[in-house]
């Protein structure tokens, strides 16, 4: 049996980590979910996220967050890397933008999709 999938190997979306076209973070903040624009640095395999210092709502150490890096406006250009994990505060990395509180994401699950690479795959059943 076959089905069509948009999913790709996250390794094939590695360019998103390097180019970071659009990036944001979600976490459970005071009063509900928080969608937060961030700055993102991918350094030696580490995922580093900066939240503006003046932002009242930030994740607490150990909180679960999702970081979404995506690009594209039209259907077949839509690509994304979706990383779920826990964050820990870190000192600002060297040469990183100032004015941000920095966190390191320890990913527990990463998925990626690319609608330009829709394809049929075999599935059981």
């Amino acid at each position: 049996m076959k089905r069509v999938t948009r999913d790709i190997d996250p390794k094939d979306a590695r360019d998103l980590l390097e180019r970071v076209p659009r990036v944001c973070m979600a976490f459970a903040g005071e009063g509900g979910p928080q969608a937060q624009p961030i700055v993102f640095e991918w350094r030696a395999g580490r995922c580093l996220a900066g939240i503006p210092e003046n932002e009242d709502n930030k994740p607490n150490p150990g909180n679960e967050v999702v970081i979404l890096i995506d690009e594209g406006l039209y259907f077949f250009d839509l690509r994304a890397l979706y990383m779920r994990g826990h964050v820990e505060p870190i000192p600002g990395p060297e040469h990183a933008p100032v004015g941000y509180t920095w966190f390191e994401l320890n990913p527990i699950k990463t998925v990626a999709w690319d609608y330009g690479k829709l394809r049929e795959v075999d599935v059981e059943g």
Binding site: V4, R6, A26, G32, P33, P37, Y74, F76, D77
Partner: protein, 154 residues
């Protein structure tokens, strides 16, 4: 306090193409999903299917936080965040209205047509992909009623 009908807010929403909606599961776990959207009656309609994580989360916890970036104008780095309450609708008339607006915003435009033409061989796969989604559930709209609107640094 900013409101969704503020002229500057409307400009950003009009020039934004993909909204990112943050939601919480019934267990309080966060998620964020990029979705197409249209602006309607001072509210935001985001299209998805009722089986998706975004829709299931909204059913569990109606609180949402949505980001909009200016994507149609280069050099404008404003980001808008709308917090509010959301609900799920599968109302036929609303879905028809949403689909019409989406067609004119994303598909029946020069860029949308070029995008489809550049991937013409994949259009049957897209149709199959959509059909698979229809087997799992129904299309729906996440209707966001804004409660707080603010501009952020991108």
């Amino acid at each position: 306090m900013l409101k969704v009908d503020d002229p500057e807010v409307r400009v950003v929403i009009r020039r934004s193409m993909v909204a990112r909606i943050a939601t919480l599961s019934i267990h309080g776990r966060p998620s964020i999903n990029p979705l197409y959207f249209v602006s309607r009656n001072n509210g935001i309609w985001l299209g998805t299917d009722d089986w998706t994580l975004a829709a299931r989360n909204v059913k569990a916890d109606s609180r949402v936080s949505v980001l909009f970036e200016v994507e149609k104008t280069q050099g404008d780095h404003r980001v808008l965040r709308i917090r509010g309450r959301a609900s799920i609708s599968s109302d036929f008339k609303k879905l028809r209205s949403y689909n019409l607006r989406v067609a004119f915003k994303y598909i029946l435009t020069p860029a949308g047509i070029l995008n489809a033409l550049a991937h013409v061989r994949q259009i049957p796969l897209k149709l199959n992909y959509n059909a698979q989604g229809a087997e799992k559930g129904q299309p729906c709209i996440i209707e966001v009623a804004p409660e707080q609107v603010e501009f952020l640094k991108s």
